[in-house]
Symmetry: C2
Subunit: 139 residues, 2 copies
DNA sequence: GGGATATTTGCAATACTGTTGCAATTAAGG
DNA sequence: CCTTAATTGCAACAGTATTGCAAATATCCC
């Protein structure tokens, strides 16, 4: 069983208040978080700049990953199943509900391979599906 | 053979200088364009607000489509193959080169279907592949 | 534990991005 | 050509992101 500090240490990061708090927030949140969500949920205890830098660091260290969107925002999410192994995979499909705007990491749905035209060398693939989540569908 | 004005008229839009110019820019550009690119390439002849509104209108009318990114920007691209038919399809895969940052619409590569977990109802799917394009691979 | 060092944080300033209301301009249609 | 409706530009504003630098703090080694 890992706690915040262990995850940070394993990534070679200093254990600081902001990092612990922000990481905790990710661990407690089911869906993905935007920068603004993090500021709100930490009661603005940390400077905006610190949040930006923390997110950037976490992405670099493979603790969280980014989810592309078409609304000029970036969502960040922790890879539950794989992070524990220190082996980062974020090649799963993301689902964004058009009704409640929640984002889901479909950890069990991997992004399918596609055949690219001659000359293109793929490194990573991201897939975002939009639609209705179970809660909104039944509402 | 269609020109700018025809495309605009077909979409039920007034033919104005800004719309003609911005549409022309899309027709002349191989990759995708961000808002900032458009401002640059039109020599800031139009107000920022006009560019925003024009892009929004084009998206609504199905003349261009948005491409999700993870860098807090939205890219816009014209769907070459399908727009001519007034029938909008943007379910193709996008490729972003990590070296030159150019974006390619792989019109012939359709986004594969994925099986979602119970409860999720998909409406649309987007896929973005990053890696090296042919020019950068050979450089 | 204490102190030196390297990292991290917060602040200030700045730049970029996106939105809204309103008046002036321009396109469309008769 | 003239009226009407749509579009544009301006101004103001709000939100988002970045950088440099000094102060604070975590780490490491003794």
């Amino acid at each position: 069983m890992e706690n915040h500090s262990d995850i940070l240490k394993k990534s070679g990061l200093s254990v600081t208040e902001s990092r612990k708090k922000i990481l905790e927030l990710f661990l407690d949140t089911e869906g993905a978080l935007a920068h603004a969500d993090i500021e709100k949920n930490t009661d603005a205890a940390f400077d905006r700049v610190t949040v930006y830098r923390t997110l950037q660091t976490f992405v670099e260290k493979g603790i969280i990953h980014q989810i592309p969107t078409t609304d000029n925002s970036v969502l960040y999410a922790l890879c539950r199943h794989n992070c524990e192994q220190g082996h980062h995979h974020d090649n799963h499909v993301h689902f964004i509900c058009t009704n409640c705007d929640k984002t889901f990491c479909l950890d069990d749905v991997t992004v399918p391979d596609v055949k690219l035209p001659q000359g293109f060398t793929p490194a990573q693939a991201a897939m975002v599906v939009t639609g209705l989540c179970m809660d909104c569908k039944n509402a």
